[in-house]
C-alpha cells in the first residue's frame, strides 16, 4: 500500500467523533428547551435529551471499537484514484447547490450539466452545453407546465419575465 490513502480506521474514529458531537449538541439544545417536567407532562426537551444521550453513548462504543478493539485497522477508506473520481463528482455538485441558491435551479442545472459532463466525461463544449440546456428546458416543461409546481427562479428568469 505505497499509494497515499485515507485509512478506514481513522475514518471510523472521525465518524464516531462526529456523531458524538451531534449527540452533545442535541443534549445542549434539548437542555435549553427544558428537560424537566411541566404540568402538561414532560417538557419539549425531555425526549430529545435522552435520545441525545443515547447517541453519545453509542458513539463512544463505536469509538471504543476502533481504539480499543482495533477494528478495521488495515482497511483502506479511500485511495488516491478513488478520491479523485469522487471529487470530480462531488465538487460540481456542491457548486450546483451554491449557484442554484443564488441564480435559481434552471440556470444552476444548465451550468451543472455543462461542467459535470466536461469534467467527468470530457465532452465537447457544445455537446455539454446543449445537453444542459435541454435538461433545463425539460424540467420547465415537466414541472412548471405539466405538474404546475414552480422551481426556484433567479435574476435571469425575472429579466426574461418568466414566473
Amino acid at each position: 500500500m505505497a499509494d497515499k490513502h485515507v485509512s478506514r480506521h481513522s475514518m471510523e474514529i472521525t465518524t464516531a467523533l462526529l456523531t458524538g458531537a451531534i449527540g452533545v449538541t442535541v443534549c445542549i439544545g434539548a437542555w435549553q428547551a427544558g428537560v424537566g417536567w411541566e404540568p402538561s407532562g414532560p417538557s419539549s426537551g425531555y425526549f430529545p435529551f435522552y435520545i441525545g444521550v443515547l447517541i453519545v453513548l453509542a458513539s463512544l462504543v463505536n469509538l471504543g471499537r476502533a481504539l480499543i478493539w482495533k477494528r478495521h485497522l488495515d482497511e483502506v477508506f479511500l485511495d488516491g484514484a478513488r478520491a479523485r473520481s469522487v471529487a470530480r463528482f462531488t465538487l460540481p455538485l456542491v457548486g450546483y447547490a451554491a449557484v442554484s441558491v443564488v441564480l435559481g435551479l434552471y440556470v444552476g442545472t444548465f451550468l451543472y450539466m455543462l461542467f459535470a459532463m466536461r469534467l467527468q466525461g470530457s465532452y465537447r463544449w457544445w455537446v455539454a452545453a446543449s445537453t444542459g440546456a435541454a435538461v433545463s428546458a425539460c424540467f420547465y416543461l415537466i414541472f412548471e407546465i405539466g405538474f404546475q409546481v414552480p422551481l426556484l427562479k433567479g435574476p435571469l428568469e425575472a429579466w426574461l419575465g418568466i414566473y
Binding site: 449538541t25 425526549f47 471499537r65 470530480r88 444552476g108
Partner: protein, 519 residues
Amino acid sequence: MDNLMHLMDGFATVLSWYHITIMVIGVLLGVLVGVLPGLGAPNGVSLLLPLTFTMDPISAIILLSCMYWGALFGGSTTSILFNIPGEPSSVATTFDGYPMARDGQATRALTLAFISAGLGALAGVVMITLLSSWVAEFGLRFSSPEYFAVYFLAFASFIGMSSSAPSKTLVSLALGLVFATVGMDAVSGGLRLTFGIPDLVKGISFLVAVMGLFGIAELMVTTEEGLHFKGIKARIRPMDVLRTAAEMPRYAVALVRSILIGIWMGITPAGPTAASFMSHGIAKRFSKHPERFGKGEPSGIVSPEAADHSAGTSALLPMLALGVPGSATAAVMMGGLMIWGLTPGPMLFVERPDFVWGLIASMYLGNLVAVVLVLATVPLYASILRVPFAIIGPLIIAVIFTGVYQVANSTFDILLVLLFALLGYLFKKLDYPVAPLVLAMVLGDRAEEAFRQSMVFSDGSVAVFWSNPLVSTIMGLGVFMLAWPLVSKMIGLRAFRRRSAMKPEASQERPRQGAETPR
C-alpha cells in the same frame, strides 16, 4: 368474508382507465429508478411524493406503490443483466442470476426472477387481504403505552437483526429520532433544537434526508468504482418465457419456503434485503446440490426474488394496520399518507376503508401489470444503462435537486441535502445502516407523542410500559430483540466450540456458513 366484500369495493374503485394509466406510469417510473444506479425505491418514491400533494390520496398511493413494485422488478433486471444490483434487496439475485445470464440464458434468468417475484408479491397481498382487518382490530385496542411499545419493538428489531454493529445501528436510529424532533414541538408549540436558525423552525423533512442519504450518497459510492457496465444483450423471446414458466413447478418447495421467509421478514421490520439474503442462504443449505449455487442454479434465483418481493409487499401490512412501516420505502409512503392528511393505523380502516381497500386491490393489479410490463420493456431499460455515466450521473443529481426544492420550496433544503449526502457517504462506507435513520425520522414524532402521553398517564413512571399483559408482551419481545445479537453470539460460539472439538478440519469452513445465514 367481510374482507372479500371490501376487496371487491376496492377493485371497483381501482378499475378505471385513469387508475390503470397511473399504474402503468408508476410501474414504468419504478423500473427506471430501479434500473438506474443510485436511484432506489425509497429515493424514487421521495422524488415523486411532492408531485402528488395535489392528487387525491387513492390515485397518489396507487402511483407511489406501483413505483415501489416497479423498482423492485427493475433492481432484479440489472442484477441479472449487469451484475449490478439496482437495489440493495436484489444483491442476492446477482449470485445466481448473473452467471445464468452469462451462460446465454438471460431470458430464462429474467423470467424465473420475474415470475417468482410476481408470485411472492401475490402471496404478500393475499396475506394482507386476509390479515389486515384482523391486525387493525387488534390495533384498535392499543393506547399510548402499547403504541410506544410497538415502536420500541420496531426499533429494537432493527438493532437486533441488523447486519451492522448494534452500536452503529443505534447511532443511525437515534439520529433519525432526533432529526424528527427539530423545529416546532407539536405538543407544547415551543421551538427546540433550532439553535436560532429560522429555516429549522419548520423541521427537517425526511424526504430531504432520503434524497441525500440514499440518492446522492449512493451515487458518490458508485462513482468510486468508476462505472462501466458490462451488460449482457437481452432479447426476450416469448417461447423461452413460456418454456421457463413451465419449469416453475419444479421450484415449488423453494418458492413456498422463500415466500414464508419473506412475509415474516416483511412484517417484522427486518425488510426485503435481509429476507432475500436469508432465503438464498437457506436454499443453498437445504439443496441437494449446494455446489451448483453461485453458478446459475435456478432455485438460487427463485428464492431471493420470491422472498424480496413478498417481504416488500408484506411491509405494507404493519404500515397500514399499525402505522409502523416494515421497510424504508414503506416509511416514505407512510410519510406521504400523513402529508395527504391521512393517519396510518387502525383508525384508517374505520375512517377510510375506500382508501385502504383501493390500495390493496391496486396491489393485485399493480404487480400483474408490473410483471407484464417489465418483461416487455427489459431491452429498452437495458439500453438506458449503455448511456455513459458522465451523463446519467449528473442528470440523476439534477432530478434529485429539483425534487429536494419541491418538498417545501426551500433553498435551505438544497444545502441541507448536501449534509445528508456527506453523512450518507460516511455511513455507507463504514457499514452504518441508513434505513433505520429514515424509519426513525418518519416514526419519531409519533413515537415521542406516544411516549409523552404514556408518561402523562402514569405521572412519569416508566412502569406504565409493563402495566398490562399486552404492553408487557410487546416490550418483552423488544427487549429480546435487543438482546438477540448477544444470544446468537453465545449460541454460535457454543456450536462452534462443539464442532471444532469433534471435527478439527471442518471448523474452518463451517462457521463462515453459519455467519451468512442469519442475514
